[in-house]
């Protein structure tokens, strides 16, 4: 199934800034699977994952306008046509 992914702010420098259409396995893929798929280099992996298998919990990942923390976190299932936006923490002032 096909979903759309976009990385914003400082993540653009590592993942590129354009929205991408990604093919993921139907029936069971989740956000963690997607992140593992997209983090295909040590540089990308370091930006997203705190330890080897755990993404940084304070990343803002939105699935269809909802932060995944309000859904099922990194285990949130993906569905055909989902729009995933990944935003790094921005908190300075």
């Amino acid at each position: 199934m096909r979903i759309k992914v976009k990385f914003l702010a400082t993540f653009k420098e590592v993942f590129g800034g354009e929205e991408k259409e990604i093919e993921v396995a139907a029936g069971g893929s989740n956000i963690l699977d997607l992140l593992n798929l997209l983090c295909d280099s040590p540089q990308r992996r370091q930006r997203i994952f705190e330890h080897s298998d755990k993404p940084r919990t304070y990343l803002q990942i939105f699935k269809n306008r909802r932060p995944i923390q309000s859904l099922d976190g990194i285990h949130t299932k993906l569905e055909e046509g989902d729009v995933i936006v990944v935003v790094p923490p921005v908190f300075g002032g």
């Binding site: 976009k6 914003l8 702010a9 400082t10 653009k12 420098e13 800034g17 919990t57 304070y58 803002q60 939105f62 306008r65 909802r66 932060p67 923390q69 309000s70 936006v85 935003v87 790094p88 923490p89 921005v90 908190f91 300075g92 002032g93």
Partner: protein, 243 residues
Amino acid sequence: MLTKAEVERYRRQISIFGEEGQGELKKAKVFIAGAGGLGSSISTYLTVAGVGRLRMVDYDIVALGNLNRQILHWDSDIGKKKLESAEEKLRRMNPNIEVEIISETIDKSSVDELVGDFDMIVDAMDNFDARYALNKTALTKKIPLFHGAVHGFYGQATTIIPGKTACLRCIFPEAPPPAVPPVIGVTTGIIGCIQATEVIKYVLGIGRLLENRLLVWDGLNSQIDEVALTKNPGCEDCGRGAR
């Protein structure tokens, strides 16, 4: 009621929204949480626009490392309280407006009283714990919260209208760990101006606010991205999970 001098001072913007609109700005009471990078930009543009009353809260002292972005504070202000430095400049910019300063830390125990009966809150903070406290107060008092934040050449802004939009906790359920982010002044300028624009539009009831929209500014590519948002029904601050 505007004086003749005020009509002349604001003539170029009165041509946009009329003396009645200017009168609305004059009546507005805006609480600005922070007198640093964002706070400098926000307060400057609200002052010159003629927002009648500003209340600014900050506890910090001006340091050399602030001066690349905190444009209200100058070399000669190093060592002074930021609020005293800010008040002096803002009053000189526009003697018609009232600038009230309170040198205190913003946290969940203080923020309700600090905001008092002001009409709206502008977020010029540098950490999410304080932002969450502003969020709760905005929800309790049912007043808007104009959020902004920066990191290097990147920044974000959104406008939170309690009862109508996602609140700050809906959007950002978890705070990042504390750190000292890189910031260049132009980013605090741009994001602060976006926040000030939202305030002005809200007071005047014109234009389209950043309601349920997270504007993400990319200064390196001079690009704006927008993330559509929605309320979280289970939000611990505004939804079923609220205590």
